[in-house]
């Protein structure tokens, strides 16, 4: 019986198929490895940048104390540790940059007195202002002003020392606001506590100043309107509606309790 042999064409086709499949498989594996490697490196870089998260808060005073002085609260949230390199302040097109070089341990936070960097000391100086912080990891954050920060958020944070040692003085007085203007009240010693006059405090001590909600002078009743606080010798006033006012003694201050007719 004649056995049917394998045709030469089928052998050639089979051999070609094997060669082509091997070539394609090798090409695909090399290309996949190359792409995976490149993608992994890029992702690692992105991840490395992304994991460095920083948070910056512009605040007046250091909670629980209030003051007209501007502070920048910076949190390093990544838990990696980083170095704060720069702070840039853009005041309506006038950009100031300050080199800081301050190491932040993992999860650390720090309160920076902006005046120390040659920037405006009053919180009023930061209206329409952008503040950007830059860390060595490439992390960049914009500071947002918050009128109140929970004390728990600042309690563990390191803070700049006061501008100078010694005592800080607060000068308190009472102003009566009428339709014809303002006048200093000389007989309002019981309107505020501590009474009008000068008081000395230690640096970073909190002066608790309380105003009577309403007072009667002559036959006219006045109600407490707000506090006006300014650096002694300057008329750059910051207004607070809080009563009592917990004033952070980080400078010499002039405090006026403003009363007005209802």
């Amino acid at each position: 019986m004649r056995r049917r042999g394998v045709s030469s064409a089928s052998v050639i086709v089979f051999a070609l198929a094997i060669v082509m499949m091997t070539t394609v498989a090798a090409y695909l594996s090399v290309s996949a490895f190359s792409n995976t490697f490149t993608a992994r490196r890029n992702l690692e870089e992105l991840y490395d940048r992304g994991k460095h998260e920083v948070r910056a808060t512009l605040m007046p005073g250091i909670p629980p104390g209030w003051s007209p002085k501007a502070y920048l609260l910076i949190h390093e949230d990544s838990g990696e540790g980083d170095t704060l390199l720069d702070i840039l302040v853009d005041r309506m097109g006038s950009v100031t940059s300050a080199r800081i070089n301050e190491v932040f341990d993992a999860g650390a936070c720090r309160i920076i007195r902006l005046e120390r960097l040659g920037l405006p000391r009053s919180i009023n100086g930061y209206a329409n202002t952008s503040i950007v912080i830059h860390f060595s990891s490439g992390a960049v954050g914009k500071a947002y002003q918050r009128s109140w920060v929970e004390p728990d958020e600042v309690y563990p944070c390191g803070r700049d020392p006061p501008e100078r040692p010694g005592v800080y003085t607060v000068n308190i007085r009472v102003l009566l606001e009428t339709g014809s203007g303002r006048q200093v009240c000389g007989s309002c010693s019981s309107a505020v506590n501590p009474p009008p006059g000068n008081r000395n405090y230690s640096p970073y001590e909190i002066a608790r100043i309380e105003a009577e909600p309403a007072i009667t002078i002559g036959n006219t009743q006045y109600v407490f309107k707000h506090w006006e606080v300014s650096f002694t010798g300057y008329r750059d006033t910051v207004t607070y509606g809080l009563n009592p006012l917990n004033l952070l003694m980080d400078d010499h201050y002039f405090v006026e309790a403003v009363y007005a007719t209802p």
Binding site: S8, A15, T38, R41, E45, D86, D90, V140
Partner: protein, 133 residues
């Protein structure tokens, strides 16, 4: 008894010839494959090297003011030489500005929405406004 095809060639001879042809094709394919593989590996190594350069070059757009001035920092471990800066895909600056590690430099550029920096290594860094994230 020897089986012969109609052309008169024995099937064994035909199979041997087919195998020789297949072997020749396989050798040729292997040659092409080896050449391509070595080219692919070389390209891959070059690309890896480029990636390594790109990764060691770490530029950060710290701030881009409304008047166009851009503060660019070198946050990598090696000096980086900026040769071109593109704003919204248009060449906006060219020169040679070498930034040491941790150095920040101001570049006067037009304002725009996208910024790309080309360095002397050939890397092109697309920088985003990180502070707006």
């Amino acid at each position: 008894m020897v089986h012969r095809s109609r052309s008169g060639i024995s099937e064994a001879a035909a199979a041997a010839a087919a195998l020789l042809v297949a072997l020749a094709v396989a050798l040729a394919a292997y040659g092409i494959y080896a050449r391509n593989t070595s080219a692919a590996v070389a390209g891959f190594e070059k690309e890896s090297g480029n990636q390594a350069v790109k990764i060691s070059e770490r530029l950060t757009l710290v701030y881009w003011a409304s008047d166009g001035r851009a503060w660019i920092a070198n946050d990598g471990p090696d000096p980086v030489t900026v040769i071109q800066i593109y704003v919204d895909a248009n060449l906006a600056w060219s020169g040679n500005a070498t930034l040491a590690p941790r150095q920040m430099q101001v570049f006067s550029l037009p304002s725009g929405s996208a910024l790309a920096v080309k360095t002397s290594s050939g890397a092109l860094h697309v920088l985003t406004k990180e502070w707006t994230r």
